[in-house]
Amino acid sequence: VEVEQFLYHEARLLDTGQLEAWLDLFTADAVYWVPLERDQRDAAETSSIIHDDRTLLELRVKQARHPRAHARLPLARTVHQIGNVMLLGEENGELRVGSTLQLVEWRNERQRLWGALVEHRLRRADGAFKIARKRVDLVNSEGELDGIAILF
């Protein structure tokens, strides 16, 4: 229940535009990863739709706030629907949590629907969870996609 509530909280921050608070959920050594290929094992030798360390993730949030971020003005409105939350295991003090994501995005009179398998690695710090790693495998990651200017 605590894990589920945390994932819902994370989603709500994104859906209500609280991107800075969302960023604060990540550890300093966090990795946020949206692979390009199905079952992709590595982000160094194969491209990724997004593969950010904490520094780059912060740039992404800052870009969303920039007054000339054309693809992000206005920011898309989103609803993250999280389901099938499962504890997959525990490694090195981190919880591996699997979930599914359905996301509705609306911007420029166009609505898009995304589906993804998600894996979080959650680390407990000061009584709360932090995200050490988040991997989002979009079902259509290998497809021909219009630009992506949202956070999953």
């Binding site: 160094a44 360390d53 054309h70």
Partner: protein, 439 residues
């Protein structure tokens, strides 16, 4: 040719402006598919995507689905991926190895040269009728230094004549690899936008747009932590450096040079020399790479190769590529207002592994579907398309630098400055030539 006869087409393209219908009229788009994409040499891929006989990959030639397949004699054939019988797509896989392509509908079976080898209940057909049928073979296929091209026109200029001065850009691409061997690697980005195919080609040599289109990524990169010293780089360095470089001062863009050819090709001088790259700043991997290159070709030749400074090169109408980070983009026109771009990364086989990791990081930052940079380009293409879709204003202006272009002895035309729209004007001269040429 209906409403768009030669005179009407010629009116659409004027020295410093073009009519919006070239971007927005579906009838013109159909004509482009026949007269431009149906004639020019189009890039379809790279030899590293095909190993031995029977190896194949599927892609589009212009907007037509094709199979690119290695023949028994090691030559390459490009076959239209459409059954001669009922028109079904014969091969649904992205890549693989096959001796036969079998249509899912009635089992019509083709060999790798497109020849029809079997049909069900053969007695139902006249033999001589069947002998005429097969997978349609694209008449001309040629390679240049590993890059595979095809032309749907049975006759026309040969590949090297077609490429002309952009041969040197391909040479640069390949020469930089120690041993000269490149391979497609690292995944293919496939992005789409609601805009005309020409908009991408008109953007890639445009030195004015980065400061404006990419203002937000330039700004956040300027506020980012500093990239690391040689040997102590961070993962984020490539991203930060590249995004910052898009904010280079106007004086730099003005000075770098832009060239165009009568066939619509062009290239931009380098605004991002090796000394500005992560890998170029005395970094150990780059030093090792240079050593390996020099071991193959000698010091002087290595210096010459690394001193070539071409940034993006455009091969009209299908492709844009750059050698420093080994990126190649192929544009597939889908409709007058819809385009798909496939971006390939290349690995230099004998270079130190970190060089390819830089390529992957660069691809993510600049060409990725979720990139800070590309997403703003796509947004702007779509806004341009909306503007050209409106009849409220008829003309688009392409006059930057017009009147200051310089004709070079090798037949290329150089912009008076690096921010000239000379390359757009050249693309439209080529466009008009394709569109109005008979036969």
């Amino acid at each position: 040719m209906g409403a768009f006869d030669r005179e009407r087409l010629a009116m659409l393209v004027q020295p410093d402006r073009v009519h919006r219908s070239v971007y927005a009229d579906p009838e013109i788009f159909e004509l482009e598919m026949e007269r431009i994409f149906g004639r020019a040499w189009l890039v379809v891929g790279h030899e590293s995507q095909l190993g031995g006989r029977g190896d194949f990959f599927t892609t589009r030639l212009g907007r037509e689905a094709v199979i690119v397949v290695r023949q028994d004699d090691r030559s390459i054939a490009v076959l239209v991926n459409r059954c001669a019988h009922r028109g079904a797509t014969v091969c649904a896989e992205g890549r693989g190895n096959a001796q036969r392509f079998v249509c899912p509908y009635h089992g019509w079976t083709y060999d790798t040269a497109g020849g029809l080898r079997a049909v069900p209940i053969e007695s139902g057909y006249r033999r001589e009728a069947l002998s005429q049928l097969g997978l349609k073979r694209i008449p001309r296929v040629a390679t240049y230094r590993g890059f595979i091209f095809a032309s749907a026109a049975p006759a026309g200029p040969g590949l090297e004549e077609f490429l002309g001065p952009t041969l040197a850009s391909f040479d640069d691409f390949v020469d930089r690899a120690p041993g000269g061997e490149l391979e497609v690697a690292g995944g293919v980005f496939k992005h789409a936008y609601r805009g005309n195919w020409k908009l991408m080609l008109e953007n890639h040599l445009d030195g004015v747009h980065p400061a404006h289109v990419h203002a937000s990524s330039v700004a956040v990169a300027r506020g980012a932590p500093e990239p690391g010293a040689p040997g102590a780089e961070h993962y984020y360095d490539i991203a930060v450096r590249q995004m910052r470089q898009n904010g280079a001062p106007e004086s730099l863009w003005e000075s770098i040079g832009v060239w165009a050819t009568p066939r619509g090709h062009g290239w931009l001088g380098d605004y991002h020399t090796d000394t500005r790259l992560v890998a170029g700043l005395g970094n150990p991997a780059f030093d090792e790479y240079r050593r390996r290159l020099a071991a193959r070709v000698g010091d002087a030749e290595a210096d010459r190769i690394l001193a070539v400074t071409r940034w993006n090169t455009i091969v009209y109408p299908s492709c844009s590529f750059m050698s420093q980070f080994r990126q190649l983009r192929i544009i597939h026109p889908i409709a007058v207002d819809r385009s798909v771009v496939h971006t390939y990364s290349f690995r230099m086989k004998d270079a130190p592994p970190p060089m390819f990791r830089d390529t992957v990081a660069f691809a993510n930052v600049v060409n990725g579907t979720g990139s800070w940079v590309l997403t703003d380009d796509l947004e702007v293409y779509e806004r341009v398309q909306r503007g050209f879709g409106s009849g409220a204003v008829e003309w688009a202006y392409i006059g930057r630098g017009h009147g200051a272009d310089v004709d070079e002895p090798d037949g290329t035309r150089r912009g008076g400055t690096g921010t000239s729209e000379v390359f757009i004007r050249a693309q439209f001269r080529a466009w008009l030539d394709y569109m109005t040429r008979e036969g």
